[in-house]
């Protein structure tokens, strides 16, 4: 290496150091899953941008993968090229994104996973995960079901889209906790509602034909729960039937206010977005951040619902 080249490199290094020292703002890139596909993700994006704008020391690059794994991988590469200080990713696919996350990790860029976690194989490459604890949500729902039925009864369960982590974890949390806490409550059957209210309504109609006695219904989210409620009302059997959901939607909140819906789990996209940004800032500040950061998703029932705002989605 010639002397002049060394000099050049050295000066470049000094320049880089100098710019890093003067700029006290951090640049954070986020690549989201699929904004606009549902109200949750739309509200999340808005809340994220608002939270970033409220902090003068944060510059954000907001990207959206549109549900496309390939696009998200190239967005990860772009963010690495732009040498952002940290990357927040809402994975379109927990497994397929592991190599992209590893690349960022190798380049020394901390990656924060938001909302739904990356596959086990990628855990060593991420700085932290921030999001809801879906197993805990299932546990809460089981506890509410148990309480509402006084430990005795027959219930059915309508799950989300088969294969989705959120659906699997909520069902797992619910099934395990219910068996442990409430052996007197039996699950007659479990069928998917695909996160679709009409599909859930159809599934519930068939349950109503099949079973003469249904005391409670647990649905993987309120959107499906309201579909099940519709079916029970149409069949004239909603009276005394306990409906428990998760991810409290506005329709679920309203049904709760009318006394038709027993309870749900309150998960705010605003809290989700703020928690992701805060986790990224904590990581950049060099704080000792735990690997798994769950934001609080409390139980919401007819009794305590006045403490919560009506969900915006």
């Amino acid at each position: 290496m010639t002397n002049s080249m060394r000099l050049l490199l050295a000066s470049c290094g000094t320049l880089a150091l100098a710019s890093a020292a003067t700029a006290d703002t951090v640049r954070i890139g986020i690549t989201q899953n699929n904004v606009g596909i549902d109200s949750y993700q739309t509200t999340y994006e808005r809340a994220f941008i608002e939270a970033a704008e409220a902090n003068p020391n944060v510059d954000v690059i907001v990207l959206d993968a549109g549900g496309d794994v390939a696009r998200q991988i190239s967005q990860m590469q772009d963010l690495i090229q732009q040498n952002v200080d940290a990357i927040i990713i809402w994975p379109t696919d927990g497994q397929a994104l592991v190599p992209a996350v590893r690349n960022a990790h190798r380049e020394g860029i901390p990656v924060i996973v938001t909302n739904s976690n990356i596959a086990e194989a990628g855990m060593e490459f991420i700085a932290a995960f921030s999001g809801p604890n879906n197993i805990q949500q299932g546990i809460y729902s089981a506890e509410m079901m148990c309480e509402a039925l006084d430990g005795e009864g027959q219930i059915v369960q309508i799950t989300g889209m088969p294969g989705y982590t959120t659906a699997i974890e909520r069902q797992q949390g619910f099934d395990d906790r219910l068996a442990e806490l409430c052996p007197g409550v039996t699950q007659l059957d479990i069928q998917p509602g695909d996160w679709n209210r009409e599909r859930a309504q159809r599934t519930m109609e068939t349950f109503l034909t099949r079973f003469d006695q249904i005391d409670g219904v647990y649905s993987g989210d309120d959107n499906m729960g309201v579909g099940a409620l519709n079916a029970a009302i149409a069949a004239g059997r909603a009276e005394g039937m306990v409906f428990i959901g998760a991810t409290n939607f506005a329709v679920g909140y309203d049904a709760m206010a009318r006394g038709e819906y027993w309870g749900s789990v309150y998960q705010s996209p605003v809290d989700d977005a703020r928690a992701a940004l805060q986790t990224a800032l904590d990581v950049l500040a060099g704080e000792d951040v735990p690997k798994l950061n769950y934001f609080d998703t409390p139980k919401i029932t007819q009794e305590n619902m006045h403490e919560f705002d009506r969900p915006v989605f």
Partner: protein, 324 residues
């Protein structure tokens, strides 16, 4: 020997492979669940099948005309979001016509690109599937829409009401099927659609306005989607942005199960009705028997493939193709 019998049975029976399959299937299921053939369950399945059913009627006509329509799924999302959203803003008496007109415009775009510009229908409607979903998201900003006063609106009649003890969705579905059946079997338009789908070149030489006929089939398909959206919106009293996601495949499966040829030129509205009902009864029957969802996916498609095979075999009089 089965082959000989299939042949000996004559064309009348041989062409009803789907009907035979349907009857065999219904008997099997009724033996396994005593609820299956109860009046309540039959009414419930008919009501559930109305949304897919109405859409399948329109798609059957498109397919007989020699084309495909894969855009109906997201078109259903579009129409349902629109009618539900407008319901609370301008009232159902205005929301319905506005939604129908907007949906017909989408059908006209399909019809223009495929009928007039002669573009490939698979490519166009696959593109529209994605484009319309984008349109829905732009319109709604990703928000779910809901009808606030669910019990006070007369809009409820389409999805939740009943006439003469029969649920309205069933009356709409079967009534529309009857009208379309008459159009397709006795009226000049029906013959033209068959001609255009069966042999486009010959139809042009026969002086049939092919472009206009194809254009019309897509308008009919869009109209069916609009009607399905009214039933769906009224039944659910709300809509997600992607409520019709994947419905295009269920619709196409029903049409195929009904024996309508994907090559165009032949098919039947009444057999599509059978296809729709059979799919709905399969899903219902398997849940009644307590089978997990993956059996439904498996059984549904095994039944479709076997039914299509039997149908083809019945038509050519042998189970296997004569060409080695």
């Amino acid at each position: 020997m089965l082959l000989a019998r299939l042949k000996a049975g004559g064309p009348a029976i041989a062409k009803q492979g789907i009907l035979v399959a349907f009857i065999v299937f219904m008997i099997t299921f009724s033996l396994m669940s005593d609820r299956f053939l109860s009046a309540d369950n039959i009414m419930s399945v008919f009501r559930q099948s109305a949304i897919i059913g109405v859409m399948a009627l329109g798609v059957t006509i498109v397919v007989i005309g020699g084309n495909l329509d894969l855009s109906v799924g997201s078109m259903l999302s579009f129409a349902t979001v629109l009618v539900v959203d407008l319901h609370d803003k301008i009232g159902p008496e205005l929301a319905i016509p506005v939604m129908v007109l907007a949906t017909l415009c989408l059908g006209a775009i399909n019809g223009f690109l495929i009928g007039i510009l002669r573009l490939n229908s698979l490519i166009v409607t696959l593109g529209m599937l994605s484009a319309i979903q984008g349109l829905v998201l732009i319109y709604s900003g990703g928000q779910n829409v809901d009808i606030v006063d669910q019990t006070g609106t007369w809009f409820a009649i389409f999805g939740r009401g009943a006439m003469f003890g029969i649920a309205t969705p069933i009356i709409i579905f079967l009534g529309l099927a009857l009208v379309f059946h008459v159009i397709m079997t006795t009226m000049p338009f029906g013959r033209r659609v068959h001609a255009v789908g069966g042999n486009p070149t010959a139809s042009i030489f026969s002086g049939i306005p092919r472009s206009r006929v194809v254009f019309m089939t897509y308008l009919i398909s869009a109209l069916c989607v609009a009607i399905a959206a009214i039933i769906l919106g009224s039944r659910v009293m709300g809509s997600q942005n992607n409520v019709g996601l994947g419905y295009e495949l269920q619709v196409l499966a029903a049409v195929i199960l009904g024996g309508t040829s994907l090559l165009g030129g032949s098919g039947s509205i009444l057999r599509t009705v059978l296809g729709v009902l059979m799919l709905a009864f399969i899903q219902n029957g398997l849940i009644l028997m307590g089978q997990p969802y993956y059996t439904q996916w498996l059984v549904t498609w095994v039944v479709i493939i076997v039914a299509v095979w039997l149908d083809v075999a019945a038509k050519r009089g042998r189970l296997f193709s004569p060409i080695a």
